[in-house]
């Protein structure tokens, strides 16, 4: 009888644990996005004659410039080339100078930290077609 009670107690505890685990996973879902990227230059999937002078990502909240970063890749599998972030940009913008770019496909791999401590990351793809 004691063993049966112990077993039932164990099952009950396991259920409570499981419920909390579920709850935790449910909570996890909300953390996928906090700061919203509201504007990007160049735009996602844009095809351009030439690279703009700066990469500009505008968010709906303040970001920590010194703890944010961006890297440029030629194609999906290119070697990441870190971009220098302008630490003096307005609080909601990540601005980085872009180098001269040859025609081809490019990916910007970015990550920002909002001032309330949420990390947000993403990728931006664009193409340089060249003049004409």
């Amino acid at each position: 009888m004691g063993s049966s009670l112990g077993h039932r107690r164990f099952v009950a505890h396991a259920c409570v644990g499981l419920a909390f685990a579920l709850l935790s996973i449910g909570l996890a879902a909300d953390a996928r996005a906090h700061a919203l990227l509201v504007e990007a230059i160049p735009a996602e999937a844009a095809t351009l004659e030439a690279a703009p002078p700066n990469l500009v990502l505008r968010f709906n909240s303040r970001i920590e410039h010194k703890l944010s970063r961006a890297a440029l890749l030629q194609g999906e599998d290119g070697a990441p080339q870190p971009l220098a972030i302008d630490a003096t940009a307005t609080p909601d913008r990540l601005i980085a100078a872009l180098p001269e770019l040859a025609p081809g496909s490019y990916v910007v791999d970015w990550q920002v930290l909002s001032v309330d401590g949420h990390r947000v990351a993403g990728k931006l793809r664009f193409q340089i077609r060249g003049p004409g």
Binding site: A21, A40, K123
Partner: protein, 615 residues
Amino acid sequence: MAGLLTLLDFFHAILASVTGIGAALVIGGVAFSAAALGVLRRDASLGRFVSRSARAISIGARLAAVGYLAHVALTIFAVQGSSPAWVQAVFEASFFRSYSVLVAASVVCAVAGARLVRDPRDRPAQVGVAVGAVVIALGGAFTSHAAGWLGERAPLYALDALHRAAAYSWLGGVAHLVLFGLASPSPVEAKAVLPRAGRLFAGCVGVLVAVGTLLAIRYLGSWSALVGTSYGALLLGKFTLLAVLLGMAAVNHRAVSRVARGDGPPTLALWRFAEIEVGLGIATLLIAATLASTPPGVDVGTEVATVSEVAHVFTQGWRDLAAQGRSGFDIDVVGVSVFNHRISGLLLAVMALLAIAERAGIARWARNWPLLLLVLGVFIGVHADRQAWPFGRMGFVESFVDPEIIQHRLAGLLVCAFAFFEWAVRTERLSPARAGLVFPGVSLLGGALLILHSHAGVGIKYEFLLQLTHLPIAILGVLAGASRWLELRLPGREGRLIGWIWPPALLGVGLMLVGYWEPHRAVPDPRDAWLDPRPTHDFRTTAGRPRANTGQGAWEFASSGIEVIRQKSSADAHHSGAAASSGPAPSSTLKPSGARNHFSSCFPASKSSTSNSRS
């Protein structure tokens, strides 16, 4: 590395809920001890209760301290770096400073709380706990939306801190009231404490409603955002729970007034209602934690859904079902997600009807209704994610990297366990006193889980409308749990009457699921790449799911009814943005882009455009 960083996001959210509960125990404990237990009046007669509350304060403070510390550690790991400049940037970062202050305040509360357990009259410890609690309320504001706000932040910091202090004092205070009740107070002690607690909670609610309204106005920006954004929907969910909490508080207030007049000791109902207030309070805190991670409605811009679009989500499923007849339950016709929802709804509706039949004494055999829940558990665990084993190409072990799949699997397991307990209780194999509480416990937790699950994808209209129906279902789940809890814990006519709430609530959940409908996704979900047959483009190589910045024009409502953009081929999608290729670099914004030239009926006869695998 990317997978590891996703896990970090995952743990951050867990920590947010842990710290919220810890902070509520601390701030609620301080408020309750000061105002209700007479610490401010230097009333030593209630010392044993102060000591008990101090223990809970100390535990809450430790919980909060660990949560804050872990949050800082995980954030530092997430932003990765090692150079001296990076270290300096971390020390200068707003989050680091805010959380450091919160950790220090929590440690002070934990230490001072432990001293108060030994000596409730220790004045320096009392002051330490009080100061720590105030700092936790203030510091929390610096980790909220207020910190990231682009306009004037000072008023928002003040409002947020007040809002936190009031909410934690009330919800945490009720938890301390339950602790007081568990310590078997004498009628004299109850008469001294309960009226003071009632006044404290009433004051907190007043501040909470006033300040919460101001914050809602600021963060929503418009009435339309209240109905048409995730942030607004979560607020509505929070209002609903608060309304129920206020109703219960009003009933308790009457009971407390009787005690204050000396018309007898507190009734059992008072303590039982307080228990449920704690449960609903935790659910409310979880919604608040989700709100903190959801972009304010005012920032969503053109992605706000209209009232008619929201109404369409709730009614279109039934219209389709009427038109489709039996084929409305054919997976090849309606798609996986709608099929999953409708089957689950059907099972729940039948269970609810059986439960009603059992309660009404029509059919005793109907008490076996939880067995249908077992079927539902297996169905959720196995069929919810067809991209994974045993239906899809994603292996069993491999599927556990996706939090949503893990969630569905655990949900299936939980439902099975829940089914077993409830069946055993109803067939008198287990005592309802303890095993019976599994049902309300799981319903409350499941409802809270669904509220959070509902808004996994935040901000953009498609994600919002897709999961909109989850919110009322979750609220019904929470109410069903509360009803069943009170039925079990409150013997007699009151309990039986309250127990009549949960079967119709369950029926409501079932019917909402049967009438489930969702807009179609035009930008593919990368996880669909795991579905068979193998797609032409392997989305596993892309990073993350479509978000506001990439999901523009993903769907659209037309005035004559809902129409959505047909899923474009990868080549089409790739070139559609190439139209404006000369001149200045185009920018993409939250406003849906102009690439909206492909429309199709929302409910085509074939399954081709209903390939969303989410449930």
